[in-house]
């Protein structure tokens, strides 16, 4: 499928903004290239856009008015996989007009650039697991870098005005043994935002597999 490889090439361009290499560079990059990290309570870059497995381009700017749950996600990381069921339930719970779920695949190891369909592994996993989130592909981990995403899973939630409202782990029950005592960070944040209330836990630590980034030649 020719279009898929074109989508990969287009992915970085669609961002419509300078690259984010400065994050790891010496800090002496020209000011035009320096991009500030997103902060809780502040808007993220609405120009961010990524191709989806559905063949469409998904732009944050088009999602204004909805709560946007972004999950940096992996088809290989067992921690990410362990949360699939929970996320599936959340997707089913809220109408798409209110809450949008974006699973972003940023691991270079999960995009097969040599294949006719570079996303064939991701498609296979999505089908097998019955993933109901919108799956977007972040070739070159450009968007993972913009969000400074560290792990899979690493969740970022945007409010209806695209302000960053939450970042961190899905819940605090990494061992799966807290039961009713567990704090459902993502579910609670969605509920608060839909009710127009402040999010209680705004930032928690993500845990999981490191995102396998591309090697950058210049810092």
């Amino acid at each position: 499928m020719r279009t898929s490889s074109l989508l990969i090439a287009a992915a970085a361009l669609l961002i419509g903004a300078p690259t984010t290499w400065s994050q790891t560079a010496s800090g002496k990059a020209s000011s035009a290239q320096v991009q500030k990290p997103f902060e809780i309570g502040k808007p993220v870059d609405a120009r961010i856009a990524l191709p989806g497995l559905d063949g469409k381009t998904h732009r944050l700017a088009d999602l204004r008015g909805k709560v946007v749950v972004i999950d940096f996600w992996s088809i290989n990381c067992p921690v990410s996989q362990r949360y699939e069921d929970k996320l599936k339930k959340l997707v089913a719970k809220y109408p798409a007009k209110d809450v949008v779920f974006l699973a972003i695949a940023s691991n270079r190891t999960e995009i097969d650039t040599a294949a006719e369909d570079p996303y064939h592994q991701i498609r296979k996993y999505v089908k097998k697991q019955g993933v109901t989130m919108n799956v977007l592909v972040d070739a070159g981990n450009v968007v993972a870098d913009r969000f400074e995403a560290q792990t899979t899973p690493h969740v970022f939630i945007l409010d209806q005005k695209l302000n960053l409202a939450y970042e961190g782990s899905v819940d605090n029950d990494q061992r799966g043994q807290l039961g009713d005592e567990a704090i459902d960070f993502v579910g609670d944040a969605i509920e608060a935002l839909l009710a127009g209330k402040p999010v209680e836990h705004k930032k928690t630590r993500p845990f999981g597999c490191s995102i396998k980034r591309i090697k950058k030649t210049n810092g």
């Binding site: 067992p78 362990r82 782990s169 630590r205 999981g208 597999c209 490191s210």
Partner: protein, 189 residues
């Protein structure tokens, strides 16, 4: 006074001033601080430690520097780097470095929980000899203690009091582990 020696003196003084101005890091001759050679474990060593025991033992290390690797049996890049970590560990132990791994299989499990026997079998199957603490405590505590961002694998170099001198999130090879230790030595005073 001989003019040459005066000039040489001035040069020395200037050098001292530069050294002072740039802090005490300007000592290229300084030998890396390591201790007497340590014995690398002859066989797999596994202990299960809760958060409190881990904290206590991380705060009092038996060597000037400790290299610690965080991994899990379910983490492929962690497993892929373990042979190189073992190689680096053997080289560093000879230079007096304490070598340690912390398995996250209990505190960050995936699917079927893996216990001490499971980790032992896992390492035996791969012919890996490593000292392992099976971490059975709070992940946030450990993350704070080790300046760990939460992603596996993670490697840190600690000083004798458990302070993190250098850390790296993501997989490394032999050279990477050795370089990380060198980086830590430059920070250690």
């Amino acid at each position: 006074m001989h003019p040459l020696s005066k000039g040489a003196r001035r040069g020395l003084l200037a050098g001292l001033l530069i050294a002072t101005a740039t802090g005490c890091g300007n000592q290229p001759e300084r030998r890396p601080e390591t201790g007497p050679a340590r014995e690398y474990p002859a066989a797999i060593e596994i202990e299960t430690l809760d958060g409190e025991a881990t904290a206590a033992r991380l705060a009092e290390r038996p060597a000037p520097t400790t290299i610690v690797n965080l991994w899990a049996t379910w983490c492929p890049p962690c497993v892929a780097e373990l042979p190189d970590f073992e190689r680096a560990g053997r080289l560093l132990a000879a230079r007096g470095v304490d070598v340690l791994t912390l398995s996250m299989d209990v505190s960050l499990p995936s699917g079927e929980p893996v216990d001490a026997d499971g980790v032992r079998r896992f390492l035996t199957d791969r012919q890996l000899v490593l000292p392992v603490w099976l971490y059975d405590g709070d992940l946030n505590d450990l993350a704070d203690r080790l300046s760990w961002g939460g992603a596996l694998p993670y490697t840190a170099i600690l000083d004798q009091s458990g302070r993190v001198l250098a850390g790296h999130q993501g997989a490394m090879d032999l050279d990477g582990f050795l370089a990380l230790h060198e980086e830590a030595l430059t920070k250690k005073r």
